[in-house]
Symmetry: C2
Subunit: 199 residues, 2 copies
């Protein structure tokens, strides 16, 4: 904690503190942990970050993050099943992939339409989605956007663009698996009741 001898470590702490979910205190803790586990964690992490910095890029087709110009999902012919799942962010794509239930391809918008932030269709890969629907022989577009106002506005806009060309679906709304009614918001209960199913 003194002159240049510590400044590299201080610099590292300042950078770590910029990560989401980290602050100065947790960054200091993380850096001390890294220094204690140099061979096991610090060196591998430095190398891994360097590799990702050199190779990570957005898929030119769908906006997924990978290490090639066209991502593994877009090049996998088995996934050309005529279904495209439209998501807001790469984290949403990863969440869908963890569920391992969807077998088609994705389209990552990179956000939602927002009048407030001046985000229009061109900023969101929506024209590219319209192109893909025409060129990839898509039968169904699943709009897996978040149930926020901006997400739903975006879903409506995309539906308007594509309604005559393809079947449009959206994720079901209802009670989450393991969810307790007592903890659910009113909107979810209303949606689950409206969409109730015969046993």
């Amino acid at each position: 904690m003194n002159d240049d001898s510590i400044s590299e470590i201080e610099h590292l702490i300042a950078l770590m503190a910029k990560l989401p979910g980290m602050g100065p205190r947790s960054a200091r803790r993380a850096v001390l942990h890294l220094i204690r586990k140099r061979a096991l964690l610090l060196t591998p992490l430095a190398e891994s970050l360097g590799q990702v910095a050199a190779s990570a890029r957005e898929c030119l087709n769908c906006g997924n993050v990978g290490t090639r110009d066209i991502c593994g999902i877009c090049t996998d012919e088995r996934r050309a099943n005529g279904e495209i799942c439209v998501v807001e962010t790469v984290s949403d794509l990863w969440a869908m992939e963890r569920a391992a239930s969807f077998k088609g391809r994705y389209h990552v918008l990179g956000g939602t339409l927002s009048a407030l932030d001046a985000i229009g269709p061109e900023d969101l890969r929506i024209p590219r989605l319209v192109d893909r629907v025409a060129s990839e022989g898509v039968r169904e577009v699943i709009l897996a956007l978040n149930a926020t106002i901006d997400g739903q506005t975006t879903a409506h806009y995309i539906a308007d663009q594509l309604e005559d060309q393809v079947q449009l679906t959206t994720l079901a709304q209802g009670v989450p698996i393991g969810g307790e009614l007592d903890y659910l918001d009113d909107g979810t209960i209303i949606a689950a009741l409206k969409a109730r199913k015969q046993l």
Copy 2:
């Protein structure tokens, strides 16, 4: 999220998830954030980690973390004022330095004595502390150990080793600045009352 194109990113997420305070979810979030801010954050962080991995070491004298064999505090002659502050960890040393009130040197034990974990005095740089007291012309040793059972056991052990050679002090206990009585534990209130001062 597919074959080798994503495996470097997956590998980075797995490493990030090992940091204290991080889990798989926050690691994914951090990695996506890093990829989005490649020039601003990802590349500098990779470089900084590499530098620290190459240069960070423990000070041979006091156990502080720095980039030289003897840390900046131990080489700073202005800090040879005859006071040594004994702390458990480097984070504690950094906390003391942030307060910028102590002008002497430190001695980082690297933990506390613990019968349960079989940690004895030799594992804690206590012999080195005894040497330093003899060789560095130390007048006062401030035991700034945590107010836990293990911390206090360690403080007593060190006090036993040094009691005839040097003045021994410990941090005052009482109400923290800005603390509200209502939220303080009984032990702190008892200690603050016992050590009450004339206004």
